[in-house]
């Protein structure tokens, strides 16, 4: 059952990801990305991480992508202009080659290190909180708070016409 769901969501994620990249209309890309993100959230859930799954939807789908959509609507972007040119084609070719190389390399490594899932695995929110607020990650966690604040202020400063 779980495996079937996994392959279903994996397929959805991949298809949606392809749409993200291939669509010329950024709004469609954005919605496709939302679909990818939600499928990934489902996969996270299937991998036994409900907290991360929820946070994935809340943060990515709920906050970040809404921000993207907002900007798209604000700037009223419709379609990417076609501009046939050799430069783009060369770039695409080189990029494709490099990505293929990357996939080959990483794929070999990853397939070489197959590993069965751990037997005891508890990713409940309580366990997450315990590790997140342990001295190992606590300071990093607090630092992210500062980071978010800085990003907030920075975004306001950058995007505002006049302060």
């Amino acid at each position: 059952m779980d495996a079937a769901l996994f392959y279903f969501f994996a397929a959805v994620a991949v298809v949606a990801a392809v749409v993200v990249v291939s669509q010329r209309n950024p709004i469609y890309s954005a919605f496709a990305l939302v679909v990818t993100l939600c499928s990934l959230a489902a996969i996270f859930g299937l991998l036994g991480s409900p907290f991360i799954a929820a946070v994935q939807v809340i943060v990515y789908a709920g906050a970040i992508m809404v921000l993207f959509l907002f900007v798209l609507m604000l700037l009223n972007v419709r379609r990417e202009v076609d501009r046939p040119g050799g430069r783009d084609r060369i770039l695409a070719g080189v990029g494709l080659a490099l990505v293929t190389l990357l996939v080959l390399q990483a794929g070999t490594v990853l397939l070489g290190s197959r590993r069965a899932p751990a037997a005891d695995f508890d990713a409940s929110t309580t366990e997450m909180a315990k590790i997140l607020f342990s001295p190992v990650f606590l300071y990093a966690f607090e630092a992210t708070a500062i980071l978010i604040l800085a990003a907030l202020v920075g975004a306001v400063v950058l995007a505002k016409k006049e302060l």
């Binding site: 919605f31 409900p50 946070v55 809340i58 789908a61 906050a63 809404v66 609507m73």
Partner: protein, 356 residues
């Protein structure tokens, strides 16, 4: 007939889903009528009273009317997005209801009408009992924005677009306050699971979060009102400014779907208010028995609370004027969120001090 345990589970789950969704859809129709009648009484009018006794069949009449109306789609609209938006809205609205418990757990009697394996079984009307229940609701509420945004954008109409932008801005502004108001409850119960939060409110009614965490309740109620875009926060559809907001271009059954999503959201927040803040299915007085002749009284208390909250929403609509948009944003960001934040901080200090 005997079924394998897995099949039993599946059957119960399917029945629960059908029950919940069916009830919600039914309640939606009833609510449109109740709202119109109540408002009419408040305004010394009669309201719809023609179709059936007291006009109770009015929703059916409305449904038939909408069903037979012509569907209009703007020529410049983005077809797929335009069609998908109401579906997304209703889907997210229904998804959010999945983790909410409707009423107390109850034990079926050994009635002979039931198949053998169901007799004496303890059930609860809840589709999924997730450990991260409240987070789930938060996540789905976050997704709810998409229906609105999509609808606003797809119609290719400036009123729709502005309405969509306004709605989504309003929704995620107030979502923050809404969520912050839950943090105190989560800390008190030590769990995201809604059943646990309800359980934490058992006993005397002073333990209800509406009283024990009054500021949080206030924030929740205000934010929830804004979240479902009810008066006084119904700017997205402020007809004096932007016609009907994001659903300006919708008609016929698609309009009905949009309406349905809004009403389901309202019911959801009311149920959540009853569950999270008003003690759920607990009577608030310890010596009141839990069952009466095998019937769990919790359903009565719980239903009364939900009905009360729904009534308050309608009552507000009959009483308050609409906010201006800048006031709305100002209120959300500079009043509600700070209040909720201070409450969370104060409450956590209280917990730490209390645990010493």
């Amino acid at each position: 007939m005997t079924l394998s345990p897995l099949a039993q589970e599946a059957l119960v789950a399917t029945l629960t889903i059908l029950l919940v969704v069916g009830t919600l859809l039914g309640l939606f129709s009833v609510m449109t009528w109740v709202e119109r009648r109540t408002l009419a009484f408040m305004q010394f009018r009669l309201g719809p009273n023609r179709a059936g006794p007291f006009g109770i069949l009015q929703p059916i009449a409305d449904g038939i009317k909408l069903f037979f109306k012509e569907e209009v789609m703007p020529a410049a609209a983005d077809k797929w997005a335009f069609l998908a938006a109401p579906v997304v809205a209703v889907t997210t609205a229904l998804l959010a209801t999945a983790v909410i418990p409707y009423g107390p757990p109850f034990t079926l009697g050994r009635w002979s009408v039931l198949p053998e394996w169901l007799r004496g079984r303890t059930l609860q009307i809840q589709i999924a009992d997730l450990e991260v229940g409240l987070l789930w609701i938060f996540a789905i509420a976050a997704l709810g924005v998409y229906g609105v945004v999509l609808a606003g954008w797809a119609a290719n109409n400036k009123y729709s677009l502005l309405g969509g932008l306004r709605s989504s801005a309003q929704m995620f502004s107030y979502e923050l306050a809404l969520t912050l108001s839950w943090i105190g409850l989560i800390m008190a119960a030590g769990s995201f699971r809604i059943d646990d939060i309800v359980a934490a409110q058992a006993g005397w009614f002073v333990r209800w979060n509406a009283i024990a965490q009054f500021p949080a309740f206030l924030v929740y109620f205000v934010a929830a009102t804004a979240e479902v875009a009810r008066i006084p926060f119904d700017l997205p559809e402020g007809e004096t400014e932007i016609v009907a907001g994001f659903h300006t271009e919708y008609s016929s059954m698609r309009f009905a779907l949009v309406q349905m999503a809004e009403y389901i959201n309202m019911i959801t927040v009311s149920v959540l208010a009853a569950n999270l803040f008003l003690g759920g299915w607990h009577s608030g007085i310890p010596w009141v028995p839990e069952t009466l002749g095998g019937f769990p009284l919790g359903f009565v208390w719980w239903g009364a609370k939900v009905a009360f909250v729904l009534f308050v929403f309608i009552w507000l609509r009959g009483t308050l004027p609409r906010f201006r948009y800048d006031q709305l944003m100002h209120f959300g960001w500079k009043v509600l969120i700070p209040v909720a934040g201070v409450w969370v901080m104060g409450y956590s200090v209280w917990i730490v001090l209390g645990s010493r």
